[in-house]
């Protein structure tokens, strides 16, 4: 096989690279490498003239391979592959050497940096000579969607998808739709009814011809890959019946949160002092229409304690985001129900980040709420008051803004319990094959640029299963997940990356080591042939199986042994 004709381009990236790396010298060294027919430097390779130069050179000089020595492939690999495609060359005949992030930005010795850039470029040149042409695959996309969880996020996503024409199966473990929102009375900061928000959505979902609601049910199994999933749904508790099998293209996980167990904090006497209640117990009181103490009396002094379980190293380090505004809402609700009652609000920091929140905070201070600041880690202590105190409980706290140790009279204490990942979140994460962070929340594909997708194609997350959030954020994420799914299924087919692992059935011994190892559950075992095979649409090309296979039967496309060895030789030469 004759040596392919290689074109090399060294980008100066303005001065980003050029200030530390002698680009001309790097290009000159590359020109001497086998197969290199031209080596150029340019100010900005990613610019239109830069890309056109590549296209032009491919045509004029008959280039068969292209190497661009510039920034990270995460930044512009796509750009340059597109340039190759424009010139009629297979886009995988391209390699990038990262001499910016991994060289010019991190070094301060121009000579050494130039030497390193030369080595990186040499590796890329030797590697690209080994590249094989690859084609992207198209797979069918089933337009139907499985939504797990019937809270406000699930209801929202289901309605969007069904409205667009897809069939939705909405699986809810409990006997009613609405989730945690159904337990809430009014919402902050506009004091509108949570019931009103839900009733409209629930009735639309219930009556929608393309939404099948499965109450008292859960997903027991999910298999397949993006566009082609199969789910099994069973009833809870199991009635022994056969699981319902459905075919779907995508899944939206909206499993929500559970509230923190307040009895874990002994300072607050929850479970022991009858008038210490959680925010959800207080919501139930509000929904029932009467704020009262355990013995039925009306409280004169109501105390709100923030950050119960949140923002503390022993429990959860994160902020639950909704409690501050919920507490302010309680101040208003207490004030309107019991105008004589006094409200004390014990907070650590007041997080009023959302739309209308700051005004709401200010408005609450105007309805005579006494805001008292305690220090993180120095929790208030609630104790039963004596008979002469004229009050049910006393709260002792080191108040931060005055610097005083004070005692607050309280008849009713409301603990603003935070959100935490549900106890069954691990099982859910395994079921749909997505990752969790250390607190148990499901992880997004990218925290900023892709906050609804996950690392598994076709599995989306929305609402508080991903992290604590308020209603508008939850609803926005649900709409976004639905929109992402609709955009992907609009064409009926989806493109799958050409880079994945392949198992040579003739070499495979059927040991199944790779099956368990694959972090994406992309490898299936065929019990008839006694061979494993990779579901290419699921594979993320991480290479675990390639390295682990004792028979050397697995090849990573675009990461073949020959390519990697050539690269290593290039660096070391």
């Amino acid at each position: 096989m004759s040596k392919p004709r290689i074109g090399v381009y060294v980008c100066q990236c303005g001065t980003n690279i050029a200030k530390m790396v002698d680009c001309e010298a790097v290009a000159k060294a590359a020109a001497a490498l086998p197969g290199v027919v031209l080596a150029k430097t340019y100010k900005y390779m990613c610019s239109n003239p830069g890309q056109e130069m590549i296209v032009q050179d491919i045509k004029e000089h008959g280039l068969e391979r292209v190497v661009v020595s510039a920034c990270s492939p995460r930044m512009h690999e796509r750009t340059f592959r597109a340039a190759l495609a424009t010139a009629g060359l297979n886009p995988y005949f391209f390699e990038m050497a990262n001499i910016r992030e991994q060289c010019s930005w991190v070094h301060d010795d121009p000579l050494a940096a130039t030497e390193k850039a030369t080595a990186l470029l040499r590796a890329a040149v030797l590697r690209v000579a080994q590249h094989e042409p690859l084609e992207k695959m198209m797979v069918d996309m089933c337009p139907d969607v499985l939504v797990i969880g019937g809270g406000i996020a699930g209801l929202t996503a289901a309605l969007d998808i069904a409205t667009a024409g897809g069939k939705v199966t909405l699986v809810e473990r409990t006997g009613a739709l609405g989730g945690n929102l159904a337990r809430i009375d009014l919402t902050a900061p506009y004091l509108t009814s949570a019931r009103d928000l839900l009733v409209e959505r629930v009735s639309r979902v219930r009556s929608h011809p393309r939404i099948a609601v499965k109450l008292d049910s859960q997903v027991s199994k999910l298999s397949g890959f993006v566009g082609n999933y199969k789910a099994e749904i069973v009833s809870v508790p199991s009635n022994g019946g056969a699981p319902l099998e459905i075919a779907i293209g995508n899944v939206v996980v909206c499993t929500g949160y559970q509230e923190f167990d307040a009895s874990r904090i002994t300072h607050y006497g929850y479970g022991k002092l009858p008038n210490v209640i959680t925010s959800f117990e207080f919501e139930a009181m509000l929904r029932a229409g009467r704020i009262q103490m355990a013995d039925g009396r009306l409280p004169k002094n109501v105390c709100l304690v923030h950050c119960v379980g949140s923002r503390s190293p022993e429990f959860h380090s994160y902020c639950s985001r909704v409690c501050c505004m919920t507490a302010l809402k309680y101040a208003h609700e207490v004030h309107s129900a019991l105008p004589e009652a006094r409200v004390c609000d014990l907070y650590v920091d007041m997080h009023a980040f959302g739309k209308g929140h700051e005004d709401f905070y200010k408005k609450t201070s105007e309805v005579k709420t006494l805001f008292l600041m305690y220090k993180k880690g120095d929790r208030p202590v609630i104790r039963k008051a004596g008979p002469d105190d004229g009050v049910d409980m006393l709260i002792e706290v080191n108040e931060q803004l005055s610097g005083e140790t004070i005692e607050i009279p309280a008849d009713l204490v409301i603990l603003m319990v935070g959100m935490e990942a549900r106890n069954d979140s691990y099982e859910v994460s395994r079921l749909v094959n997505i990752s969790q962070d250390k607190e148990g929340w499901f992880i997004e594909s990218h925290p900023k640029l892709d906050p609804v997708a996950t690392t598994t194609d076709g599995i989306y997350i929305a609402g508080t299963c991903a992290a604590p959030k308020d209603i508008p954020d939850t609803v926005a994420q649900a709409h976004a997940a639905a929109a992402r799914i609709l955009a992907k299924s609009a064409r009926g087919r989806i493109e799958v990356d050409a880079v994945f692992a392949e198992i040579d059935e003739n070499k495979c011994s059927g040991c199944r080591m790779c099956n368990e190892l694959c972090p994406y559950s992309a490898i299936e075992f065929d019990p008839v042939k006694k061979r494993s095979h990779v579901i290419s649409a699921v594979c993320k090309a991480c290479g675990c199986c390639v390295a682990a296979c004792p028979s050397g039967a697995i090849k990573g496309r675009h990461f073949t042994d020959a390519q990697i060895i050539a690269q290593i030789e290039g660096v070391l030469a």
């Binding site: 002094n301 006094r342 004390c344 007041m350 905070y361 200010k362 201070s365 105007e366 005579k368 709420t369 006494l370 805001f371 008292l372 600041m373 002792e396 108040e399 803004l401 005055s402 610097g403 005083e404 140790t405 004070i406 005692e407 607050i408 009279p409």
Partner: protein, 381 residues
């Protein structure tokens, strides 16, 4: 020992004029902009906080409200419109009531109606008393000398009796102020030497109001000083030179009387104008007690002038009637207003500045040995 929070104290303070205290979220801009707040006396923020929390004991033993002259910069800077300046003003009213051993002050501040009723009642009593006394001991047609309707000798004696009552009340209330702020409120013993060392501050602050000048703007300071000096001059003239004041026009004492009168009328007119215009922060909010104070001042000044003019014009009957009307203003002012209302700050403010220095130094002596020259003072807790 934990201090019990009294969440309803703030309701009580509302009747003294505090309005928007709850809006404060303690950014500290007010204390930062205040020309007088320092490491030892952090205000208005701390006072706002104590008030929000109802730390009654801390407030009644505190001196901060008296260290403020209400320049209004804090209220202008406040991002939450919590009116810290007005809060300090309300606290001064509240403290005046706290210092008062009789409870009359609290009644007046909380109920302007009671205050006005008491004023009018005493005025009526004064009027009737003087009319009865004058008509039995003299004739309405005679202004001076033998057979005068209101003989200046007896009026003078009456003035002295009033001054004695007034002094007793002021001394008693000041003693209570000392008890609260120094004995109860200063967490360190104050040795006699300190009292002597700083004693000069009382007359110095009283006569110069140096600290008010340090607020920045000269105009409010000059007005306030002018009013106070005029009032003081008039008081001394009436108490010690009543005979001379009413003598010939170009007597130096008489001239001083004219000047003081101009000062009283002028300054109170400017202050009334300020409260009506409401352009400056310190004049935006007016408690009823502020209006009563100014109205009374103006009434007494104007009737005094009128009485003088009528007398000089030879209209003795009219002069005598005006004199009675004048006394109907003077007596309630001296007996009820000066010890129990806004006037009382005449005594409390210089005393507070004196006590504040005593407290600062007494705590400093306990907390840290004397610092070497050039070292920064230790920040007080």
């Amino acid at each position: 020992m934990a201090i019990r929070v009294n969440p309803s104290l703030i309701d009580d303070l509302e009747r003294y004029g505090a309005e928007d205290v709850q809006k404060c979220y303690h950014c500290g801009n007010c204390s930062a902009v205040c020309p007088h707040a320092d490491e030892s006396y952090v205000f208005p923020r701390r006072s706002m906080r104590s008030l929000q929390m109802g730390l009654e004991r801390k407030l009644e033993t505190g001196l901060e409200p008296w260290l403020c002259y209400y320049c209004g910069q804090c209220s202008e800077q406040c991002p939450r419109e919590a009116e810290p300046g007005e809060t300090m003003m309300s606290l001064r009213r509240w403290l005046t009531a706290r210092y008062d051993v009789t409870g009359i002050s609290g009644l007046f501040y909380r109920s302007p109606k009671a205050e006005i009723a008491a004023m009018l009642g005493l005025a009526l009593l004064t009027g009737l008393g003087f009319a009865a006394w004058g008509s039995t001991h003299g004739q309405l047609g005679i202004y001076e000398g033998e057979g005068a309707f209101l003989n200046s000798h007896y009026v003078h004696l009456f003035d002295w009796a009033m001054a004695a009552v007034l002094t007793t009340l002021i001394v008693a209330n000041s003693a209570r102020m000392w008890w609260l702020t120094i004995v109860k409120g200063t967490p360190a013993p104050v040795p006699l030497s300190l009292y002597l060392k700083h004693a000069w501050r009382v007359p110095w602050q009283f006569f110069t109001q140096q600290r008010y000048k340090d607020c920045g703007e000269p105009r409010p300071w000059m007005l306030h000083l002018g009013l106070m000096l005029s009032y003081f001059t008039m008081f001394v003239l009436i108490m010690f030179f009543l005979g001379t004041v009413q003598s010939d026009t170009w007597n130096p004492v008489h001239v001083l009387g004219y000047l003081a009168t101009i000062g009283l009328v002028g300054a109170s007119a400017f202050m009334i104008q300020g409260r009506l215009k409401k352009t400056e922060a310190q004049h935006k909010h007016s408690h009823e007690s502020d209006w009563i104070f100014l109205a009374q001042l103006l009434y007494v000044s104007v009737t005094g002038i009128l009485q003088h003019v009528l007398h000089r014009a030879g209209l003795n009957e009219a002069a005598n009637i005006t004199y009675v009307l004048h006394m109907m203003g003077v007596v309630p002012m001296l007996v009820l207003e000066v010890p129990f209302s806004k006037w009382a700050h005449l005594a409390y403010r210089p005393l507070a500045l004196y006590f504040a220095e005593l407290r600062r130094e007494a705590i400093g002596q306990v907390e840290a040995p004397p610092l070497p020259a050039g070292a920064r003072p230790v920040k007080a807790a």
